[in-house]
Symmetry: C2
Subunit: 566 residues, 2 copies
């Protein structure tokens, strides 16, 4: 493509609306143009990137045996009423009335539509399993759309839905999708993790989120840099310390701690580490109050604790605390408490710890389980922190942030049962189908990839998703015949070799052309100028290279073709 026949529209400054680097760069590079809140036009340059992502997704879905179809964006309410989601989906669903006042929505997802197709099309176990997918426009009416295409209202999604005769078949396809997603994000050159996700009622290994790792991500992820273990911080298991509890060495003693309430204040005051302290939280249990014990530097994980005690976490009021412990919240401790006590695994391994004395203005030091208070119930009730042992036993966890770009889920029979989606088994008996669903945020990937691939000059996109693979920048294309001829010849040679090349044939200053090609993230660049040509040389530089190198003109075509042809 020649720039003169394309539409390049870069900006020096990003509009002030953009917070994230990817959003700023996409606006500056002219990838997208805002139409309204959460609505973006994919401009020619951005669309090329989107299509490249789409291409990789499609290839890998096909390779994994999924079959593409295309469902309507507009969906009748009746199907959503069958599953009950018409009423519970909430205001994210864009509801529509047609000219006859019938109810529709702009589909935020397609479980109902595909299940309706499956129940009408699939009769026999012989037709199963089947995995259908589409790459299609969705709408979710976010209350606060932001971050450009990362949290747009209208967006492009790959959604797949699989149908099975039994759970074993679902697990097989789920695994195939896990592997396809891994190939997709690997081919797109992304640093990512598959993260075990909360499956709610389903449990087990029934759901994984795929996160692109980036500081701007909205989700905190615990991962093992030395293995493929990863989980949402809220779900990552905090394993028990490997070392057994040390022997008690100190005597229990009561220390005045006037005006000191928080762990930080106590540790400062006593000149000890917070890791030597235990904090006590009183929460409402199903049969009265409970005490939860955490090491001073740890945080309660409410998801784990709620699962343990069987209801959402509600902290005791000031009055309740005083009734139970006889003091304010800053001085509670487990010694002498008459309510059940649950200690985090890390607490259970402590000896000679500091805790509240259940008396305002006092703490205890040298406290020990089994001597000063009974052995507690032990459970995992905290968030993991960086340095914790990895649950897979292969080293230590690190914490990072991630952008969710994919999600695979074992739906089981949630939708098929509600909608009567069944097949006849080998004995002719109707059975409800098992289902899985598998989503990828195709347009979000573009933003997420940029969050991982940029520098001060602009985007540094991976080859698989850059708008063009190579830029030819002739200096003086309009003025110098030798430059023009050399550039045109190289351009033709590369086009013939099937290389996706952009030729900057504008009448611009070199600095403007260099800045544009760098901003829009083209991975490879050659510069052709009169000065170099006098010595028979042109310049090549990779987008991430520190410096350019020169190559003899005669060898340039072969050099680039060898490097870039796949």
């Amino acid at each position: 493509m020649r720039v003169s026949q394309f539409f390049l529209s870069t900006l020096k400054e990003a509009p002030s609306e953009a917070e994230l680097i990817s959003h700023r760069l996409m606006l500056r590079a002219g990838f997208i143009k805002r139409l309204g809140s959460g609505l973006y036009t994919w401009m020619p340059l951005g669309l090329r990137v989107l299509r490249k992502v789409e291409h990789v997704v499609r290839e890998e879905m096909n390779r994994a045996g999924a079959i593409e179809l295309l469902m309507p964006a507009v969906q009748p309410a009746e199907l959503w009423q069958e599953t009950g989601r018409w009423d519970v989906f909430g205001p994210q669903m864009l509801k529509i009335k047609d000219r006859h006042q019938r109810d529709f929505c702009f589909g935020p997802t397609h479980e109902e539509v595909i299940t309706d197709i499956a129940r009408r099309e699939i009769r026999s176990y012989r037709q199963l399993p089947l995995n259908f997918y589409q790459i299609q426009t969705k709408f979710r009416d976010e209350i606060r759309p932001r971050f450009g295409v990362m949290r747009a209202r209208e967006f492009m999604m790959k959604d797949a839905y699989s149908f099975h005769a039994d759970f074993a078949s679902l697990e097989q396809t789920y695994q195939a999708m896990y592997e396809a997603y891994t190939r997709i994000f690997t081919r797109l050159g992304l640093k990512f993790r598959a993260v075990a996700a909360d499956t709610g009622a389903i449990g087990g290994s029934g759901s994984h989120e795929f996160h692109v790792l980036a500081d701007s991500g909205e989700d905190a992820i615990a991962y093992n840099p030395d293995s493929d273990y990863a989980a949402n911080v809220e779900l990552a298991e905090a394993v028990a310390p490997a070392a057994p509890r040390p022997a008690a060495l100190q005597a229990l003693s009561k220390i005045p701690t006037p005006g000191k309430h928080s762990i930080e204040e106590i540790a400062d005051f006593l000149k000890i580490s917070p890791t030597q302290t235990v904090k006590t939280l009183i929460v409402e249990g199903t049969e009265g109050p409970l005490a939860l014990l955490l090491r001073g530097d740890h945080q309660l994980n409410e998801v784990k604790a709620a699962r343990l005690i069987g209801q959402d976490i509600r902290f005791a009021s000031e009055a309740q605390v005083r009734a139970v412990a006889g003091c304010s919240a800053g001085s509670i401790g487990p010694v002498g408490l008459s309510i059940p006590v649950i200690a985090d695994r890390a607490v259970a391994a402590m000896a000679d710890f500091v805790c509240g004395a259940n008396e305002d203005g006092f703490h205890l030091s040298g406290a020990n389980f089994g001597r000063d208070l009974p052995e507690p119930t032990v459970a995992d009730i905290r968030n993991v922190v960086a340095g914790d042992p990895s649950p897979d036993g292969k080293g230590a966890l690190d914490i990072c942030r991630g952008i969710e770009v994919g999600h695979i889920f074992q739906l089981r029979t949630t939708y098929s049962a509600a909608m009567g989606c069944s097949y006849l088994d080998e004995s002719g008996k109707a059975q409800t189908m098992e289902m899985g669903c598998y989503g990828i945020g195709v347009s979000r990937i573009v933003g997420a990839a940029i969050e991982q691939n940029f520098d001060a000059r602009g985007m540094t996109l991976p080859e698989t998703m850059a708008p063009f693979l190579l830029a030819i920048v002739p200096v003086g294309y309009q003025k110098s015949e030798v430059v023009r001829e050399t550039a045109d010849n190289l351009y033709r040679e590369l086009l013939q070799a099937g290389i996706d090349v952009l030729m900057d044939d504008r009448n611009e200053r070199p600095g403007v052309m260099f800045a544009d090609m760098e901003l829009i993230g083209i991975p490879h660049r050659v510069v052709i100028g009169e000065r170099g040509l006098k010595d028979g040389l042109i310049e090549y530089q990779g987008r991430r290279d520190e410096a350019a190198r020169t190559i003899p003109v005669a060898e340039t075509g072969v050099f680039l073709t060898n490097m870039l042809a796949t």
Copy 2:
């Protein structure tokens, strides 16, 4: 692709809802599945066809220098309010309120959105001309969706919009689009015509519709089978007869025609051809009633007549007719009328004609202009009929029916002026841009093509849009090792040659497989069976061939590759 890994779902009978052959065949072949009124899922087989159409459209748009982008489906009302179309578009526009009660629509077209982009992105004449296009989902809330994908509510459209510094540039792009459309429909193997369309206020050559010719079309088209002339019947010029008016031979005489009113009744009664009669219609003019004269077998063209008299056609009431002519409508004639008379060109060339006598129950015969009544004003006010001379002077017209699949239009400054879309010219002065727009009904093309390409056994799709190019039908694939091995080898060989092949590896009776492959319109088929293989032969048959022919197994790969590789 192997059928066992694909989703084939054919029906013996089409659902009763389908009127058109294309709709019936698309449902039977499992190309589409109805979700709701005017809403269709493109099933895997149909989607392949849709994508092939899309591919040809995209290639030719790119070749013609158009630049692809992708605009949102959901559009804010504000833009439509700027052009005034929010209020006048009517109930075809699907209006939506978001969670904040702001007004949006599901875009039925994108003039406003692209003009908004152009006015923000294009500054200088140096950037012009530009031609942007997208292939995207549209919604028009048809009051009576029907004919499957031909008049669906949600559909896929290619819409392009061009921007220009002056009209000459618009005309150039318009011509390039005309040629691109011609290439697209030619490559898709369609019998089509570019039809001059009514441009309303714009006039000239400012609009063409592209029609696929098919008996089921909703539009009547006059075309010249020997040239590329074509026009909507309502717009085709009825040229004056080549031969001059004959000399008057008969005397004027009044004939009793009791109870005879219509042209057919009069012609029957007098045993003459309707072509010897003249019918007289009284309509309201801007300055009183007018008489319009048509040959008995011709029909008034209200569009032409309205343009001539400067207002919509309103026929005179019974009372008005009696006031003007002194008789009822069945006996009016031009002789002796005191109101202005406009004769169609065909009437002006008649002599010795029969017409009403302006007296109930009587007609005149042997009437002649210049002798019995004044020479009339002459104009083209009728619909053309088959056999009329072609306006391009190259033979005679024929009439057929067409399905509109494309429309190109010189918008001029309608939208750019309303939305302040201007550029700076060479002297730095702001000028309003000229605009063109160019649409193709991508999903409609699939239906229209089937209307042209079917037989008793199913679809006979052109190679460029068939779901697969070739079917391999092994007889006894699951039972016979030699059949399986031969089929698998051929399948691999063709795949490697890049041929889009479907291998029917099902355990079905041959008749079922043949019927399916024919129904879904695969252009080429080979049959591999044990009997033929004994003699080293396999069978080949083109979808439109009368009979199969045998080919030595060893030569089959080369034979097919040569025939099918492009």
